[in-house]
């Protein structure tokens, strides 16, 4: 059973197409993250699902009910905003109960729900305070509480952690995940932060230009990106890209890049790689190994330009085939700039894209 279902959804502002015939099915209890850079339409999509924007075409179903033209309050959703959007003149308690009072829920029931939400979020001591007297993390907790008291099936989060500092962000991230595990609601979460996406999501929808580029679980998105955009967008530092040409020799296939040949025989290509085909070879920094012994291909020699120790990891920037690439190795392995190293590649987890269509091969 799907919880939220978006059918052929389009949204135009005049001549500008923000969402383009978008389809999306979200399962009951699923945590779906809409990921993309600003202006990709992810927040717009969320606002359409919430009913805060009128769609140009298409339909939206929540719990198999067509809600395309229903008011936000009738859709069974709760929403958390980036700026918290707490009513400044009301106390925390009033903020939580406002929606219920508007809906004329009996006072006893309101008290019960407010008590439950404030217990879950541990904001009981703050109930009498005004939003101005709260810290950013506390405000966002109250904002989540406001969605919680509505007792709804679908939670919508619009970049809820973007206004918080790094430490609070990771704390609240864990808290949101815990909340999802205990409530088992459907959650749709908009963010531009790939760490949030990868850590929280059951599935991630990577968006660009009003179109979903790939919809899959975080590991698939990370390891088998569907196109060049997704591959470049996910991962930090970014995937290393080598533009080259497919060549075949002795029954093995290679990608020739600026005089350097990468043996890609181990690559699980969907269709055979055609010799002469222009491709982009993508290698994540952690899929490159530095061989102490001379086991690596002699041709894959590189000089360490810069070393970036990050504690657990050590990031090396080196030059191969005339371009800069990054390699992630264990933190205790140190290389001084200028060191000559030999590289080997784990082609089983590499990605190869067609240079023209930019799609995965």
């Amino acid at each position: 059973m799907t919880s939220v279902s978006v059918r052929d959804l389009s949204l135009n502002f005049g001549a500008v197409t923000v969402l383009d015939r978008l389809n999306l099915d979200i399962n009951h209890g699923e945590f779906l993250v809409l990921l993309g850079s600003s202006g990709c339409g992810k927040s717009t999509l969320l606002n359409c699902i919430a009913g805060l924007l009128d769609v140009s075409e298409g339909q939206i179903f929540i719990k198999d009910r067509n809600v395309t033209w229903e008011e936000p309050k009738d859709r069974g959703i709760g929403m958390v905003f980036q700026s918290y959007a707490l009513y400044p003149q009301m106390s925390v308690e009033k903020n939580l109960s406002f929606g219920l009072q508007v809906a004329r829920v009996p006072q006893a029931e309101i008290d019960k729900r407010v008590a439950r939400a404030s217990e879950i979020l541990q904001i009981q001591p703050l109930l009498k305070r005004k939003p101005a007297e709260l810290s950013g993390g506390q405000r966002q907790r109250v904002a989540i509480g406001r969605a919680l008291v509505r007792d709804v099936d679908v939670f919508l989060f619009d970049e809820p952690l973007s206004n918080l500092d790094a430490k609070l962000r990771s704390e609240l991230r864990v808290e949101i995940k815990r909340l999802h595990q205990s409530l088992k609601n459907t959650m749709i979460y908009v963010t531009h932060d790939q760490i949030e996406a990868l850590t929280l999501a059951d599935r991630i929808a990577v968006m660009k230009g009003g179109v979903i580029q790939q919809l899959a679980d975080p590991m698939t998105i990370y390891n088998a990106p569907e196109n060049l955009f997704v591959a470049g967008f996910i991962g930090s530092p970014s995937m290393n890209f080598f533009r080259g040409e497919v060549a075949a020799k002795d029954g093995r296939s290679f990608v020739q890049v600026d005089g350097v040949a990468f043996d890609v025989s181990a690559y699980p290509a969907r269709a055979g790689l055609q010799p002469g085909q222009k491709v982009v070879l993508g290698l994540r920094p952690e899929h490159v190994k530095i061989d102490e012994a001379a086991a690596g291909d002699a041709a894959h020699q590189a000089v360490v330009d810069i070393e970036e120790p990050m504690g657990a990891d050590n990031l090396l920037w080196l030059t191969l085939a005339g371009q800069s690439m990054s390699v992630r190795i264990a933190g205790q392995r140190r290389y001084k700039p200028g060191t000559n190293v030999r590289l080997s590649f784990d082609m089983g987890v590499a990605s190869i894209f067609d240079a023209a269509s930019e799609n995965r091969l």
Partner: protein
């Protein structure tokens, strides 16, 4: 200069405490009060302020003199014998036409015109501005453009058509008619004012309220109004002073018994019969100007408080 000396004492006191680290200068940066810049800036300000206050001074002095003293002709001299007779006469006895009950009649007329006009125009304009800012309906931009153009058309062009409209409605010459005219003419600028203010409030608050199930009026009264005290004070200042000081509409759209204070003041000051009672005229003018002045003083403070309350981010 006094402050400088005080600072020096403090420093020496620090040094008097044994073991205290007192190397280097202490306290706020000393500033010379009589610097060249200060002399120029404050000198200019004082001169200009005095220049603008001079007429007020003359008016107050004249209004406190008796006629014999005024005839001496020295308008700057303070009164030898202070009398409040002119003020009483201006308020209660001065004659305009057949009535000899002073400005008090005009004052109450003005109150009866200003209070409803201000309340109705602000109430309607704030809802207009809220709808235009948050509930974007089809043609909202066109509607807004038309409204704004209304602000640029000179009043005088519309006087005759309005007279006809009021006559056809049967309210020409009544207070109701004048109140309606004031309400309508306040609409463009007030709507613009409110629209811009509401558009400046965080949009997500409005969205959150909609998700919470609040409708048009609930959001207006429960969410927007409590956050909008400053702009209501601004609108009130604009409208009270504007309507109180209005002369043209008052004289055109009402009958003599409903003349507002400004029109009556004009009739007192410009009466051609008998002796020109300068002291009474001055007192009458000051009385008329007192209301906007009071509004500025009272609401100025309210205004600052409103801004301070609104400045706390939610």
């Amino acid at each position: 200069m006094l402050k400088l000396v005080a600072n020096n004492t403090i420093v020496s006191e620090y040094e008097a405490v044994p073991g205290r680290v007192t190397s280097g200068p202490h306290g706020p940066k000393p500033r010379r009060i009589l610097s060249r810049r200060n002399i120029v800036v404050y000198g200019t300000l004082i001169v200009v302020a005095l220049y603008y206050l001079l007429p007020l001074y003359v008016m107050i002095m004249t209004s406190l003199k008796g006629m014999p003293e005024i005839r001496i002709g020295n308008i700057f001299a303070p009164p030898v014998e202070i009398t409040f007779e002119p003020w009483i006469k201006a308020w209660a006895q001065a004659c305009t036409g057949l009535n000899c009950d002073g400005l008090s009649r005009g004052f109450w007329n003005s109150v009866r015109i200003t209070v409803p006009s201000v309340i109705i125009s602000i109430a309607v304009a704030s809802v207009n501005g809220y709808a235009l800012a948050n509930w974007r309906f089809k043609g909202a931009d066109l509607f807004f453009a038309i409204l704004i153009i209304g602000a640029f058309i000179p009043y005088q062009v519309m006087i005759y058509p309005i007279v006809i409209v009021l006559r056809e409605m049967g309210i020409y010459g009544t207070l109701t008619g004048l109140i309606m005219v004031h309400t309508i003419f306040g609409m463009p600028i007030l709507t613009l004012l409110f629209r811009n203010y509401f558009a400046g409030l965080p949009e997500e608050l409005f969205k959150a309220a909609r998700v919470d199930g609040a409708g048009f009026w609930t959001i207006y009264f429960k969410i927007m109004l409590p956050m909008s005290l400053p702009i209501f004070v601004v609108a009130m200042i604009l409208q009270v002073t504007g309507i109180w000081n209005d002369f043209l509409f008052g004289v055109v759209f009402t009958r003599p018994e409903y003349y507002p204070m400004t029109v009556q003041l004009n009739n007192i000051v410009n009466s051609v019969q008998g002796v020109k009672e300068y002291n009474v005229n001055m007192a009458a003018t000051l009385l008329t100007g007192l209301v906007p002045l009071t509004i500025y003083f009272i609401s100025g403070r309210l205004f600052v408080r409103g801004i301070a309350a609104g400045a706390v981010k939610g």
